[in-house]
Symmetry: C2
Subunit: 616 residues, 2 copies
């Protein structure tokens, strides 16, 4: 298929619509597409790209197995194409992600076939219907082409092999003389994947709708990745990532456009919805050959929407936004993750216990940044072991933030329990935490607030929390934030306020004082835990990086500290299984990302010791 | 490769060791293998087969990603082979499952490759090392052959595509003139899989170590499945399944031997460890051809341990145990699931709240069957809304079971809260449940009991439980048991006792009286829920079978009931995410089996209504 254009450079204005979709909200997400497609049209774009699975939101998890949902997604796509045309947007090429339900579209790969003999009436049997993670190009009221994601991530938080059948076709559409190949997310992370196929087949532009969850420093990986794939595809790449929170995940956007030579043409800001518009100038003569049919492991199909290049116009400069600093990036990830969880679940307000300590002070500041002070209710819950500064720091915190605040002493309830049953030691300590949990859940039920748990990752790791006590809550905003980072974030947030001439939201005393659960007289965290510097370093290596004992010692951790921390982490699995979700910011968060059995006899020891024991 | 034997029928005595392994306990599981291999040798067996991943237990979940664990499993296998020989068991061929750690053993399949460019130090990147779900034949102190599971289930509770690289080789070992092919579990569920390859290559016997979780009526599927695979393999099949509980799963055993013509030769009892020994007489002349090398999608390798058939001996009859009735099967699944959770986690005893209702009466009876009366502690926790019969039925229940029992009225604690904060309606109802939860957790912490939650599947489905209240607990034994089955099980257990001349363990009054949460005056479940017959029928179709609105109405459910139930089920996702694990007995249990987002706007409506809404 030879192009009719005269091999002169051709222009195309493209927009990346970095939007915040809602899982399961087909109608709402279609409205979102219409609204942002209109913005792209206003900006003069010829093509607009939306994120992965735009219509369903991402990740839809087991909704994919619901045939009614998959069929509704297919229908929504067709309706959306018509709707766009009816709104006068038919000339704009719109790439959206959706859940495809292809009946009999080839067999499932053999590893996903549970049984050819199993005739139980179950959709858990993935042979019935063939769900696909799909992208489509809509134009002129029609669904012009459909692409089925080839590379299905099935590690970390991803379970796509559970849901989808991989695609084998790479559709290429000619739009204003520009050959555009469709891919989806993970396809971009695989060398020799669809971008390699596109490179061999010959295309000018690759569009890549994404749902790439935020992790610290992940933005540092994306640009070089996209640049390598552009080189492989010998084409420009439009990388559009979604933005927003979805349960444990937050998506940071960071959409970008890269030229065939790897030049960063435009980059969107993180953590906000944004329309990134960029003028491409592509040189069709740099593509040596344009093939269709079998290319490598895929089949390339070609179709033509329009041969005629757009008339020459004056290109506008596009923004190249610098990624945020580490602390600001994490802060905004936590704020957005929290806000979207609360708002997308329709909760009017939140409540949290304020101890005067750094964790609750930080969560309160995050909540106020996410929701505004009027939607945040703090409660001081002093016990007989609470120090003077606990109440005053909690009150100071609330005052700085301008949030609601009240005080309910817990002694009457604690006394009532202790008169009825005899509790001592840890049982008595936990009782205080559970009385607080019960009071806060009572206020939650009475007033419709969602209870925020204030546990940090260090505590969640070692089980330094009380189940149904301070661990109670519908969302745990700093669940994936190690204690050392809690302090860093608090200092950063105060400095950020100072820079802007605002009140520091977090009391310095809450940052500076030694951490204590205050469940017993004079108690401090350091009585039962190693220093947080040591603890967090071991957690990062054991939890996030999954290192064994020999590797942990090689990394220079103290043997006694390692033994103690690993024992605590292993023993706390049952607590974590019942913990609230919280925003993932690390390489490996507790939750879907790390799936360990509760019943588990494996304990890390040095190999020589273990072999001896096995042979004894 | 031609056989030296003279094509006369050959005999082989084989044992299936249906054992209860422990996840992560490499040393303990190796001990178990040695002990049961010795039993098999005593029984005169030439070959003994253990379940899938014998050495690691199943499922080891993310332990697989820990390189130290995978290496330790490899080492344990080698050590075990030597140990068996040292114990005088070297002549016995022993097939065990293990976790293999193959370095550079071929690339991961393309869909599991997250990134060729991603050099972050993460084991979540499955390209680093190649874990395999493996089986090995041990003999004479050596690991004779290793087989890597080909078909990796990645649906329902299974995540094997997250962990393993599939195998491509089918090893066949000649033992006493019998050609034995190794497979693992899911391989048996795939037509045209390794059994088909074995059939084309020509073997006499297929061994199949399994970890096939219990589900109601699953045993009805297994025998016809194994029979079909025997026909495909043109060989006898030894199906050995593990037994025992592991977090949400319970394995029922149900091991069996089937002849090449599909005759059931032997079948083991369910839910107990068992050595099933069977004398095979195999006819090598029925195998037309014996090939190696490429056969279909796999490579067949052949090796010879011993050509000489065993001298002719008098075959013994083997037991063919009938599967249990539905209620007995479920009862024993629940008892074993509970017992193994408690014992494998080293808990000395359990505590539970006794309301006089059927759920707590049933859980108490299960606990006593699982652990013995002396390890079970019941607590009556009456409120001002508790009826007279609540306390007397609870006491009757405890007395019938011979368990520990005490009473703690909750009024003083409830009053203390209500004097401190104003709670009304549902907030006041939940308060009572949370006071009970806090008291029971206090007793749990004080005495080291594990708290059992008594929620049933109907309640868990519709969220008819209080988070941190009656939902509190470390294990929820009847979490996957719908209320209607709760009653059936209670009647069955009483009838079972009557048959054996024992005291009925469950008070008839607890079975007969109308169910009530007793959190408000005169409250009954039927005030806020449809009848349990209707409710459970809708739950089975919506939750277990994932049917959409149109299908639900086609199945004859009442439209108003469906709308009400679906609304409740959808809204309770956040509660379920924090619920204790419980034994799976159904097609789809809440937990790993059903992964729905909390933040989820999808609501089932009739397609016509939805399309209209989308277009408006």
């Amino acid at each position: 298929m030879e192009r009719v254009s005269d091999q002169q450079p051709v222009q195309l204005r493209v927009s990346l619509a970095q939007v915040d979709t809602r899982v399961g909200d087909l109608a709402g997400n279609c409205e979102l597409v219409v609204r942002w497609a209109a913005k792209a049209a206003e900006a003069g774009a010829h093509l607009v790209v939306f994120p992965e699975m735009t219509l369903t939101g991402y990740p839809p998890e087991d909704l994919v197995l619901r045939e009614s949902f998959a069929r509704a997604s297919e229908q929504a796509l067709v309706d959306l194409a018509e709707r766009l045309a009816a709104e006068g947007l038919g000339d704009l090429a719109v790439v959206v992600g959706y859940l495809a339900h292809t009946q009999g579209a080839g067999p499932a790969p053999v590893d996903r076939t549970p049984s050819d003999d199993d005739d139980r009436p179950s959709d858990a049997n993935p042979r019935r219907g063939a769900p696909r993670n799909a992208a489509a190009l809509l134009h002129g009221g029609d669904v012009v082409v459909r692409y089925y994601k080839r590379h299905l991530p099935n590690y970390g938080v991803f379970d796509e092999a559970r849901y989808f059948v991989p695609g084998t076709e790479l559709p290429v559409v000619r739009l204003h003389g520009v050959d555009v190949a469709l891919t989806v997310c993970e396809d971009l992370w695989v060398e020799g994947g669809p971008c390699g196929v596109a490179g061999q087949a010959g295309v000018d532009l690759v569009v890549s709708p994404n749902a790439s969850p935020y992790e610290r420093a992940k933005d540092d990986l994306r640009l070089p990745l996209v640049q390598r794939r552009a080189a492989e595809a010998r084409a420009a790449i439009l990388y559009c990532n979604q933005v927003g929170g979805q349960d444990e995940l937050v998506f940071d956007g960071d959409s970008m456009a890269v030229s065939p030579t790897g030049e960063l043409l435009a980059r969107a800001p993180q953590f906000v919805e944004h329309l990134l518009t960029v003028d491409l100038t592509l040189d069709p003569s740099s593509v040596p050959e344009r093939r269709e049919g079998r290319v490598g492991p895929m089949t390339v199909t070609r179709s033509v929407l329009s041969e005629e290049p757009v008339p020459a116009y004056a290109a506008q400069p596009a923004p190249v936004v610098e990624p945020l600093s580490d602390c600001e990036e994490v802060w905004r990830a936590l704020v957005l993750g929290l806000r979207d969880f609360i708002d997308k679940n329709g909760m009017p307000s939140v409540v949290l216990g304020m101890s005067g300590g750094i964790d609750s002070a930080l969560v309160a500041a995050l909540a106020v940044d996410a929701l505004g002070a009027d939607r945040v209710h703090g409660v001081g819950l002093p016990s007989k072991w609470s120090s003077e500064h606990s109440l005053s720091d909690a009150e100071d915190s609330a005052k700085r933030l301008g949030m609601h605040y009240s005080v309910v002493p817990i002694a009457p309830m604690v006394d009532a329990y202790e008169s009825s049953v005899e509790l001592s030691g840890v049982a008595a300590e936990n009782l205080q935490a559970r009385v607080r949990g019960t009071l806060l859940m009572g206020l939650s039920n009475q007033h419709g607030h969602l209870l925020l748990a204030t546990s940090n990752k260090s505590e969640v790791a070692v089980g330094y929390s009380t189940l149904y006590g301070d661990a109670a809550g519908g969302f745990a905003p700093i669940k994936d934030v190690p204690k050392t980072l809690v302090w860093d974030l608090a200092r950063w947030r105060n400095a950020h306020a100072r820079e802007r001439g605002e009140t520091e939201p977090i009391p310095v005393n809450s940052i500076e004082k030694p951490p204590s659960a205050e469940l017993a007289p004079g108690q401090q965290d350091s009585d039962s835990l190693p220093s947080y510097d040591e603890l967090d370093a071991v957690i990062a290596d054991y939890v996030d990086r999954d290192l064994g004992m020999a590797q942990l010692l090689e990394r220079g951790h103290d043997a006694e500290v390692v033994a103690r921390v690993l024992r605590l982490v292993d023993a706390a699995e049952f607590k974590r299984r019942q913990s609230a979700p919280g925003t993932k910011i690390s390489l490996k968060a507790f939750g879907r990302d790390r799936r360990l059995p509760i019943t588990n006899r494996w304990r890390e020891t040095l190999p020589t010791v273990r072999e001896g024991a096995a042979q004894s």
